[in-house]
Point group: C2
């Protein structure tokens, strides 16, 4: 009877014959479906249990706390990110980046959890392993460089992806369109600009090129890779 505080070490309880059999996998899948269609707020133990024709308390056999369920969800999503690969170190880093971004676009709630706590589930470990070995296969074998490159990339990804999702949501809230958003916030901003306190911002709003999210993502990634490249031992 292992009662480790880490869910990764607690074996799944034995299956039972019951009208609606449960398992961690089923629970997590139901929770993910819920989150995909209605956001993280819609994931309550009652609703997850309801989706499985079970009482809320039944879930506590498989999971000690709601946080653990979220942790499992994260690892489940990480598991579906394609493994990073590429011939050169920057191709590998790029594949890490787009892998994460694509996944977040499919599961926006994932962005809410990103960077919220350290995750060490099996899929996350496997992804770390894959990233490390893919990088070293390209000939980049200074461990410290690899470490800092990955850490920096990770930070950038978390922020970029969160910002993109946040923007996405703001647009959805106030209608569908960016025009709609401008309609909601536009008057406010116009009035703020009219105060004359934000001349540079005003000019920026009017004159700067406003990139699409995907382009901005790529551009930032390019900066980062260029920066890493410039620090590589030649």
């Amino acid at each position: 009877m292992t009662d480790s505080p880490l869910i990764w070490e607690r074996p799944e309880p034995a299956e039972r014959s019951t009208p609606s059999p449960l398992s961690r996998a089923r629970i997590v899948r139901a929770a993910i479906v819920l989150a995909d269609s209605a956001g993280l707020d819609a994931v309550s133990l009652r609703k997850v249990a309801g989706a499985l024709d079970a009482g809320p308390m039944r879930l506590y056999r498989y999971v000690d706390t709601k946080d653990e369920l979220l942790t499992l969800m994260v690892d489940a999503i990480v598991a579906e990110i394609p493994a990073p690969a590429g011939p050169t170190w920057d191709a590998v880093l790029r594949s890490i980046a787009t892998g994460l971004r694509d996944t977040v676009l499919r599961h926006p709630w994932f962005a809410d959890l990103l960077g919220g706590r350290p995750y060490v589930g099996p899929a996350t470990l496997a992804r770390g392993e894959a990233a490390l070995s893919a990088l070293r296969a390209t000939g980049l074998d200074d461990l410290d460089t690899i470490t800092s490159a990955l850490a920096t990339l990770d930070a950038y990804l978390i922020g970029a992806v969160r910002k993109e999702i946040a923007e996405h949501r703001a647009q959805e809230e106030t209608g569908l369109d960016q025009r709609q958003w401008q309609h909601a916030n536009g008057p406010y901003l116009t009035r703020m600009f009219a105060t004359g306190r934000y001349p540079a911002l005003e000019e920026w709003v009017h004159d700067a090129r406003h990139l699409k999210a995907a382009e901005a993502f790529e551009l930032g990634l390019g900066y980062l890779l260029a920066g890493i490249a410039s620090s590589l031992p030649r």
Copy 2:
């Protein structure tokens, strides 16, 4: 009677003579004190009201919803970040970075809100304005370069700061020390490594230099600035 959906456009209700007078500022300050000492979860309308010797419903005169309170809290924190400044463009970007990081270390809950939605409060606008004009004062006046540099920096900052806070919390949870953390997760990791499925990770844990958060932050920032520099029109 303005009933704009944006709190920035709704004037604060007139003051009233009452045993414990309220105001948005007082409410937000109380909420921040609560969040500082016990995290965002401790910020409930009841507790905030309680700290001000008021009933929960009284807050709804000043704020339409809890989300609005959080929005005000964010802007209040942004207001206390020192304005970015510096002789060169990279000095300005550096000051933006350390300004945010220092503030987040003082108000860890701020990291939970960062990147969660687009913020356009007055302090946030003012900060944007300050950043823009400080950058242009250094002679960097290509608006598109400025835009993408700021956006990328912002993304990196959000992620880096979140990761740092997350790590911080994980350590606090399982005791005080990093040794304690290793004690809690160590056995699990050891067992995972024993499976032989993570050879590169195992080597990494043993051999790589593991930087302190501040060093890692600085290092990533360095990469980013170098990358931006390499794309500057010369």
